[in-house]
């Protein structure tokens, strides 16, 4: 589809894409357009934007089919490196967590864990799983968004990266309660991915965290 003629209002500027709002028929939609990055040499830039647009749309659709809570794809504009998807009402988890009680935070993390378990079981890894990429609906259900770095994989390594990144984003902004929050997340993950997968993925995540530079114990 061609998004260049749609009237839209800017919604959000992300790191690699601009989001804007539009209406198509009965739907309120979000247009995610990957913008040219001045810092990248043009041929590398074009290749990265093209590949990620197609891969992101495919992964979101697969996640939806697997029953995960994600946006629905309305269309893809390959010419303009844009994806059109349904708009989600809600707040970014990162902000919601700031003014939540620890019990509510743990409940939310558990539901997030269930969603990640669904994705992983369907053979999808997110690749950029932080609390900024989870939208919490008004009824408190987490939707996972931004599949720009996602890939098809069932490798414990790739799954471990997902949990590692989530943990790090929680430690960075909610350091005090991070370990109990991550415990709840793992309980949720077990629900949908099974105990065995949960065990191996979490072990890998801890191993990845230790791979950073200059840890005294390896």
């Amino acid at each position: 589809m061609d998004t260049s003629k749609l009237t839209s209002t800017p919604l959000h500027r992300g790191a690699e894409a601009d989001l804007s709002l539009a209406t198509i028929g009965p739907w309120r939609v979000v247009i995610k357009r990957r913008v040219r990055k001045e810092y990248r040499t043009p041929s590398l830039d074009e290749q990265i934007r093209h590949d990620r647009t197609i891969s992101e749309a495919s992964r979101i659709h697969e996640a939806k089919t697997a029953g995960a809570k994600v946006p629905s794809i309305v269309g893809v504009d390959v010419e303009n490196n844009a994806i059109v998807m349904t708009h989600l009402d809600g707040t970014v988890a990162r902000e919601r967590l700031d003014d939540m009680s620890i019990n509510d935070a743990r409940k939310l993390l558990r539901s997030i864990g269930e969603q990640i378990g669904l994705l992983h079981t369907a053979g999808i890894v997110h690749g950029d799983l932080t609390t900024s990429n989870v939208i919490v609906s008004p009824s408190g259900e987490p939707f996972i968004v931004d599949f720009g770095m996602s890939r098809r994989s069932t490798e414990p390594e790739d799954r471990g990266v997902d949990l590692h990144l989530l943990q790090r984003s929680i430690v960075a902004s909610h350091n005090k309660d991070s370990s109990s929050m991550m415990n709840s997340m793992i309980r949720g993950y077990e629900q949908t991915a099974g105990k065995k997968a949960a065990g191996s993925t979490w072990r890998k995540a801890r191993e990845i965290a230790r791979r950073g530079r200059y840890f005294a114990i390896r």
Binding site: A15, T41, R94, D128, T130, M149, L165, N175, R211, G212
Partner: protein, 329 residues
């Protein structure tokens, strides 16, 4: 007046920083391995030991020849090469007990950020540290630097140095690769690995060296290596900047001397309305001044170490060090 002693890897440096954070003296000597060879820890430490005496003497003397007694001695306790670290630590301990002045153990990576923040005037930035020992994206939360993104294997400095070594280009590798890159123009497809806010460079190094051994065009290869490696880091930086919403971006460490990297990170800062604070090129690489600068700040926060506890720590993460002096005024 704080005396700082650097000896984590290839450089022995001594420097005096005064109470107003001004660099009074900064004297350094760097061990350069032969072309095609890496830094041998013992050979590097022998070089450091042979120059230590004269460097400290020069750093402690004024222009008219009289010598200055420092009030505090700071040494780089890590991370780095064990044999090299021990040279600086020995000199620091000796001076501290002879002059009866307090001793401060400085983290070399924290010091890179401290000197960059002092000179480039940053308050509470998203910090990008790129060198032979570090490739990290950090923000200060609570009392410590928190790692927002980092390399999962080798550092950006390692990547450029190891490739330069394979290509028989002289050290420092980053500079040699960037000189060659200016003559290149064709982008060769190389692995581009960004995992969230992390990067991984080892696949890129393997692909670039094997292409080199297949007699690829060196200039194009250097151009492609540099563009790909810097774009990976830049993407992780941009992502971190959006997530942390900091209004300043600091670029520090040896690879911060690269004009292409400065251009790329600067463009990201501008794009997101943040101010850009690159460390001046002359203070980007390892030097005594960074240790003196960081040691002074630690001392003012009441952080010192007794001689009997003044160990070296070859593996020491940035997020294990208390840095209560940030945000800076």
């Amino acid at each position: 007046m704080c005396l700082g002693i650097e000896s984590t890897a290839h450089t022995f440096g001594a420097s005096l920083v005064d109470d107003h954070d001004r660099i009074v003296t900064n004297v350094n000597s760097t061990y350069r391995p032969p072309v095609g060879v890496g830094i041998h820890p013992r050979k590097a430490s022998e070089h450091l030991a042979s120059v230590a005496d004269s460097i400290v003497k020069t750093a402690l003397s004024t222009q008219d020849g009289s010598s200055i007694d420092p009030d505090v001695i700071a040494y780089a306790a890590g991370p780095g090469l064990g044999p090299c670290l021990r040279i600086g630590a020995t000199v620091g301990r000796a001076l501290s007990s002879f002059l009866k002045k307090p001793l401060v153990a400085v983290h070399h990576g924290v010091a890179h950020l401290d000197i960059a923040m002092s000179i480039a005037k940053a308050h509470d930035p998203l910090a990008v540290l790129v060198s032979g020992g570090h490739t990290s994206i950090l923000v200060h939360i609570g009392k410590r630097w928190r790692v927002y993104g980092e390399t999962q294997d080798i550092t950006l400095g390692n990547l450029l140095d190891m490739f330069a070594r394979e290509a028989k280009l002289p050290s420092p590798g980053g500079l040699s690769v960037s000189k060659e890159a200016m003559k290149g123009e064709k982008l060769i497809k190389l692995p581009y690995t960004v995992k969230g806010n992390d990067v991984a460079y080892s696949g890129l190094l393997t692909a670039a060296t094997s292409s080199l051994h297949r007699q690829g065009n060196l200039a194009d290869l250097c151009f492609s290596l540099q563009e790909t490696a810097f774009a990976m880091l830049s993407e992780a930086v941009e992502r971190s900047l959006v997530q942390t919403r900091r209004s300043e971006v600091l670029l520090a460490g040896g690879v911060a001397a690269s004009s292409r990297l400065r251009e790329m990170i600067g463009s990201i800062a501008e794009d997101h309305g943040a101010s850009f604070h690159p460390v001046p090129v002359e203070y980007s690489g390892d030097c005594g001044a960074q240790i003196a600068c960081s040691g002074r700040l630690a001392f003012e926060s009441g952080i010192t170490v007794s001689t009997s506890d003044s160990f070296v720590i070859p593996r020491w993460r940035m997020d294990e060090v208390d840095v209560p002096w940030i945000p800076r005024n």
